[in-house]
């Protein structure tokens, strides 16, 4: 518990900030209802992101940290969302949840692949010199240690970071909800959000502990 005290203090400060967020509205509007419909698609998107990242890093290893992914990582979410919107055929109607998922993966996957691949230990000259079997075994062991850290550190970020894609494609989700509560100065709603994120952080601590133990 003592080791978690600094982190808990940060979350407590965030809660206080949510309660004291300055500013007033010209016309007080009621905050939107929580978009519970967006929970399942968000969970699916995060699962796909986590699964695809782990699978591709397992297959390609540290080589993924450079090359074309560095270029694909650069464009911000808005570019991917607007590109998809521009290419979407007019006759198909406005893009739906599937397009949102595609834009999300296009925006998030290159960066996450590079993030995870760059943290893998180098494979040259060893274990590469010992053959593909040794490489696979070493990579698997490293990923088993790294994956919990990565999941705990990165995936919560993506819970609300899809805001830009949601706004561009007209698919309200968790990011839009968070932003609307900030704009409307919904102190209670923001406190609930921060409480939920803090809980997620607390639940992720044992994962990191397991990853760190020999």
């Amino acid at each position: 518990m003592i080791r978690r005290a600094p982190g808990l203090a940060v979350w407590a400060a965030a809660l206080v900030a949510a309660g004291c967020l300055p500013g007033r509205l010209w016309r007080e509007a009621r905050p939107p209802a929580f978009p519970s419909r967006a929970l399942a698609p968000t969970a699916l998107a995060l699962l796909l992101l986590a699964g695809a990242t782990l699978l591709l890093v397992r297959l390609r290893g540290p080589r993924l940290a450079g090359g074309i992914l560095a270029v694909l990582e650069a464009p911000p979410d808005l570019v991917w969302a607007l590109l998809l919107l521009a290419l979407w055929p007019a006759g198909a109607g406005p893009p739906g949840g599937g397009a949102g998922l595609l834009a999300f993966l296009l925006a998030a996957l290159p960066g996450e692949l590079r993030w995870l691949a760059s943290t893998l230990p180098p494979e040259r000259p060893f274990p590469e010199a010992w053959g593909p079997g040794a490489v696979r075994a070493a990579r698997g062991r490293a990923l088993r240690r790294l994956a919990p850290w990565w999941l705990a550190a990165r995936l919560p970020v993506w819970l609300t970071a899809s805001l830009v894609i949601e706004r561009a494609l007209g698919l309200p989700g968790l990011g839009s909800d968070w932003m609307a509560r900030v704009a409307l100065r919904d102190h209670r709603g923001l406190a609930a959000w921060i409480g939920a994120l803090a809980l997620l952080w607390l639940l992720a601590r044992p994962l990191e502990g397991r990853a760190a133990s020999p």
Binding site: G23, R27, R30, L56, R167, G170
Partner: protein, 465 residues
């Protein structure tokens, strides 16, 4: 690796067919064609007592009925009330017998009284509605309703459109021409066939599109039946759509705080005449004149010359993120520079901007305000707790005039404006217009209140054959 990527792509592509069915209906006969629209922000839960804000009021206008509506020309017209008469201290109204709530129950005087009481008694009730009703109380029985309070009857009659009636005890249920349902990410408003306004459309479907660029793409691809394009010069509507410009009662107001000095607003009154190149303002803005909106019957009067010089350096704060307003203010700053005044523009987040303005921490602040379509709406500037009296403006002579403003034609209005002109706290710099692109097949009635808020509003829209 390529195979893995291909599998991932195929998995994602398999989800694509769940896109909404917007344009699948394009070839449908007019009677079956829905109107596709976009909200710029989430309207929040439908609530006829606590709900406030532009999007919420659109939802309420579609799903609720006020006692008295305003026609597109701004005249009071029957809505829930079939008739009314002005009496000493208020209005006596008779409700329509055929008005029904969404659950089929008839609208009665008890519902009107409950709605008025809830707005007065709920501390979280809409401030706009509370301001519209003032101290008006409702009572009655069956279909007869009595409204009593200190408001002049004519003013009350023009304020009632703001207050759709909710079913007693159910603030989310109205009696309007459309029924709201959430359908995935969309808000669908389905026409109620038996409604007394006889809506001709099957319904309207709203998506949430806060992003300006995304709204433009949606308009250009025909995914929206109508919508506001970004205010960029030279932008033309796509084939099948026509531009629609509506004069509104909205103005960009410049509030002068204690730091501005008495010479600032008279200087801005001079600069606003020639600061804005027409091409820069486009269809959205035009330079304002006078102190109070001419559309409300006020003659254009400039602030009185004070003899005080304008400060050489001024800071003007505004809400960040409004590109069109920012360009206009930059033009104003360039004009001020020609007179040797440095105008520093300071964008602020909306909530922080208003807090600083209300605390008197801003020398100058620009804000867009929509006036109600009657002269009493300018009283917000001069009344002690008026919604536009953000700087605590006071004048004992003006307070003495307030009881003499029951008649919109009273000469006391001119006297009041003359008092305001001596030391105004705000100056309009731009008139705001509503600029839309609209499907050329859709027949609507433009109005200063917009397309949705007048009576019959969207219930009066028709598809051309």
């Amino acid at each position: 690796m390529p195979r893995a990527l291909l599998s991932l792509g195929l998995a994602a592509a398999s989800l694509l067919p769940c896109a909404p069915r917007a344009l699948a209906q394009a070839p449908d006969p007019p009677a079956a064609r829905w109107v596709e629209e976009a909200f710029q922000s989430d309207p929040g839960p439908l609530d006829f007592v606590r709900g406030d804000g532009e999007e919420q009021f659109i939802a309420q206008a579609l799903t609720g009925d006020a006692l008295v509506g305003l026609s597109p020309e701004g005249r009071p017209v029957p809505r829930l009330a079939a008739s009314w008469r002005e009496v000493n201290g208020g209005l006596d109204l008779v409700l329509r017998a055929d008005a029904r709530f969404a659950d089929g129950s008839p609208v009665s005087a008890a519902d009107v009284a409950w709605t008025f009481r809830a707005i007065e008694g709920d501390p979280q009730a809409s401030a706009t509605k509370r301001a519209a009703l003032g101290d008006t109380a409702a009572r009655g029985e069956g279909l007869r309703v009595e409204l009593r309070g200190s408001r002049p009857p004519e003013r009350l009659l023009r304020e009632l459109w703001r207050v759709p009636i909710a079913k007693a005890g159910q603030p989310g249920m109205g009696s309007g021409p459309f029924l709201l349902q959430r359908d995935g990410a969309a808000w669908t408003f389905t026409a109620r066939p038996g409604h007394f306004l006889h809506p001709a459309l099957p319904g309207l479907r709203f998506r949430l599109l806060p992003d300006e660029a995304a709204r433009l793409v949606a308009l250009q691809k025909g995914w929206l039946t109508l919508g506001a394009p970004p205010p960029r010069p030279g932008l033309a509507p796509p084939p099948g759509m026509v531009p629609l410009v509506q004069p509104t009662l909205a103005q960009v107001l410049l509030f002068a705080g204690p730091g501005a000095g008495p010479g600032a607003l008279p200087a801005f009154a001079r600069w606003r005449r020639d600061a804005f190149p027409p091409r820069l303002l486009g269809e959205l803005y035009s330079p304002a004149a006078g102190l109070w909106p001419a559309a409300l019957g006020f003659r254009a009067r400039e602030p009185d010359a004070t003899g005080a010089p304008c400060p050489r350096v001024l800071e003007l704060a505004y809400t960040a993120g409004d590109g069109a307003l920012e360009r206009a203010l930059q033009a104003l700053a360039a004009r001020a520079a020609r007179d040797g005044v440095t105008l520093r523009l300071r964008p602020l987040e909306a909530g922080l901007f208003l807090e600083k303005l209300l605390k008197g921490q801003l020398a100058l602040g620009a804000i867009t305000n929509v006036f109600d379509p009657h002269p009493w709406s300018v009283l917000g500037f001069v009344e002690r707790n008026g919604d536009l009296n953000v700087t605590g403006w006071r004048d004992p002579a003006a307070e003495a005039l307030l009881p003499r403003l029951a008649d919109p034609a009273s000469p006391a209005w001119d006297t009041l404006q003359a008092l305001w002109a001596r030391h105004p706290a705000a100056l309009p710099i731009l008139d705001v217009h509503s600029h839309l692109w609209i499907d050329r097949r859709l027949q609507v009635q433009p109005s200063a209140l917009g397309l949705y808020l007048p009576t019959p509003g969207a219930a009066g829209w028709r598809w051309r054959e």
